[in-house]
Symmetry: C2
Subunit: 386 residues, 2 copies
């Protein structure tokens, strides 16, 4: 369910469908090796993706149209390794060194690491495509990306941004992603500004303080943190500490360079701090964090689901509250073939004051919210190859 609320044009986008992965075929002429894609499908996966746009819907639309193709291409490039008992040292099956399998074994490299690598590469490739397309079309904007892929009995969740996926079972709520914001990535961002101070153009301070400092604080010892610190200390305030902070504000209000609420995502290649030449992109990562859920190892029950949603839902509902709504909705609607999409609809409604008593103090979200509810039960069977 994709819901528009915040802006005239909805900035959330979504995509889902089957991933048909073909197999590469290797061959060799006298002076070069070549590979071709066999036309028929070799492995089948399922794909769900949410993109929460900012600065317009352009990047989110491009991501929804592109990322699955990048992922399919990346997976096709390594699929021979994915279906082997253990990924071979050489993709072509050549063996140079007799103990290659032992080296791979010692590194603990499994087929799932190739899928994780493919997801990481696909996000980066998609980010480059978006950069080129935005420039060519004179558009701007960026988006977060949350992707779930069901493949060979496992569910891969790749996240770059502040959307969230959780597993809800009868007796368990398990986060499948974590959020990437200026707050959660403070040390990485401060570290970069330490290494490349020119990125701040003398306009921002790298240091974190509990609030923005003012002239009266000069010469006083105040609480601060630098890039290498998880703890806090005191420093004597100098004039340069009065500059606007690299990361400012708390929680929902936290902003990178006063501009952006997320620290990972796609797009934003042209984004600059208002009225300056200071770029945001060097501080942003397109690489997702990937978690793997071994669905085949779970004793799945019919009402085990994954809930994926953009940040608007999680601003208003906790993981536990969403789990309670899932558990109270599904058992009463077993006969309804559309119960999973109706549950997604209900989750969105409950953030808009339309379902009184479900959210604390009737909290209401005015953000765009999009939700996938993915039943795992029918996904439990291993997708089979030809």
């Amino acid at each position: 369910i994709i819901n528009a609320e915040k802006s005239e044009f909805n900035e959330d986008q979504a995509a889902c469908g089957q991933l048909a992965i073909r197999r590469c075929e290797f061959g060799a002429d006298e002076d070069q090796e070549w590979l071709t894609l066999c036309p028929e499908e070799f492995l089948t996966g399922h794909y769900w993706a949410l993109f929460d746009g900012h600065g317009g819907p352009a990047a989110a639309i491009l991501a929804a149209n592109t990322l699955h193709s990048c992922l399919r291409r990346q997976l096709e490039a390594v699929v021979e390794g994915m279906v082997a008992t253990q990924p071979p040292m050489h993709l072509s099956g050549h063996s140079i060194c007799p103990s290659d399998p032992q080296f791979v074994e010692e590194k603990g490299i499994r087929a799932e690491d190739l899928v994780i690598g493919a997801l990481e590469s696909a996000f980066q490739e998609c980010d480059e495509v978006i950069g080129r397309e935005l420039e060519a079309s004179g558009q701007v904007g960026g988006c977060t990306a949350l992707v779930a892929v069901s493949l060979q009995g496992k569910l891969y969740v790749a996240n770059a941004g502040d959307s969230r996926a959780i597993l809800v079972r009868k007796d368990e709520v398990r986060p499948l992603s974590s959020e990437f914001t200026p707050e959660t990535e403070r040390q990485r961002i401060q570290q970069l500004a330490f290494v490349y101070p020119e990125l701040l153009a003398g306009e921002f301070t790298r240091l974190e303080f509990p609030r923005r400092l003012k002239g009266d604080d000069l010469g006083q010892k105040v609480l601060f943190r630098d890039h290498h610190m998880r703890g806090w200390s005191y420093k004597c305030v100098e004039k340069s500490d009065l500059k606007y902070p690299l990361i400012h504000g708390q929680g929902r209000q936290a902003r990178l360079l006063g501009t952006l609420a997320v620290s990972r995502g796609l797009g934003d290649h042209q984004l600059r701090v208002l009225d300056t030449d200071i770029q945001l992109k060097p501080f942003l990562l397109s690489v997702p964090q990937v978690t793997v859920l071994d669905v085949d190892q779970l004793e799945l029950q019919e009402e085990d689901v994954v809930v994926m949603a953009t940040d608007g839902l999680w601003d208003v509902l906790s993981n536990e509250q969403v789990a309670r709504l899932v558990r109270s909705f599904l058992p009463g609607n077993r006969e309804d073939p559309h119960r999973f999409s109706e549950l997604a609809q209900m989750l969105i409604h409950s953030t808009q004051g339309k379902n009184d008593g479900l959210t604390e103090e009737g909290q209401v979200s005015y953000d765009d919210i999009s939700v996938f509810v993915i039943p795992l039960h029918s996904q439990g069977q291993r997708s089979s190859g030809h």
Copy 2:
């Protein structure tokens, strides 16, 4: 117990004792503020530290003689904030902005964050002192550092290197530190080499492969990882991939630039790759990771202990094996006033084939091993201030 085995001169060092923290007193003349240390002790803590030296014992000896002073100084600089209900925005107690306590509250800054910050700063200060002292005396070397501090009812464990501390209770074994090696810090180290390729002087490759590549691998697609990847992918081998890897080897054998088995610690300012000008120090961090154990919240029993030991012990014994040894030794020796140091001695003996049947397949360590066994029970009471 400090045990020498590996080298003619033991490279392990240790220190322990009371930390007497004095209070600063603020005052103001007409044109400047000043602070003095009150002579009497204000807070009392306890301090235990293990330093595992390499390249000679010099850095470990300096660290054992210096780190506690650095820590005391860092704690004294913030002790006023530590004893407040909440650390104040301004150390001097001035109040510039009426909602300062609220800003500090929103950041979630607690007294323990000041101790964490003081530990982080103390390690860095000590590293600078060691650098100066080694240079002045023409000595070389480095060391890991594992420190436990008991203060205000909490136990702080700060670790830079591959030593380890665990909590052993009747029904629980809890790691209190994690190891920092070229393998566990691969992404940080590769990232640095990506940003500053000149650090490798064209002699090393940043990329990770399951084994060192050779000429026969040229042109083949082989498994690899770069800095942004947690997963694996395949790349076509180029000539530059045949260089020696930045991180090479597995587990105990893993080395940074072919030289060092740890990625955090003190010293090593002069360390270079053999026969080159390539420095190790840019890749090393002196900042520890700090974990906090809320001892006051544990329902302590008489035989709850913390075991701190250098890597030699953990190479041979798992956390669970150490816990079994602790639980089998202590109850039978309740009357012995030296039972904790005897337990430490016994743990070392059991790595030297002197206690048959305790270690799997009679594994033996030839490394230096040092062990603290710290009973928590008498530490459970809050150290009180004046």
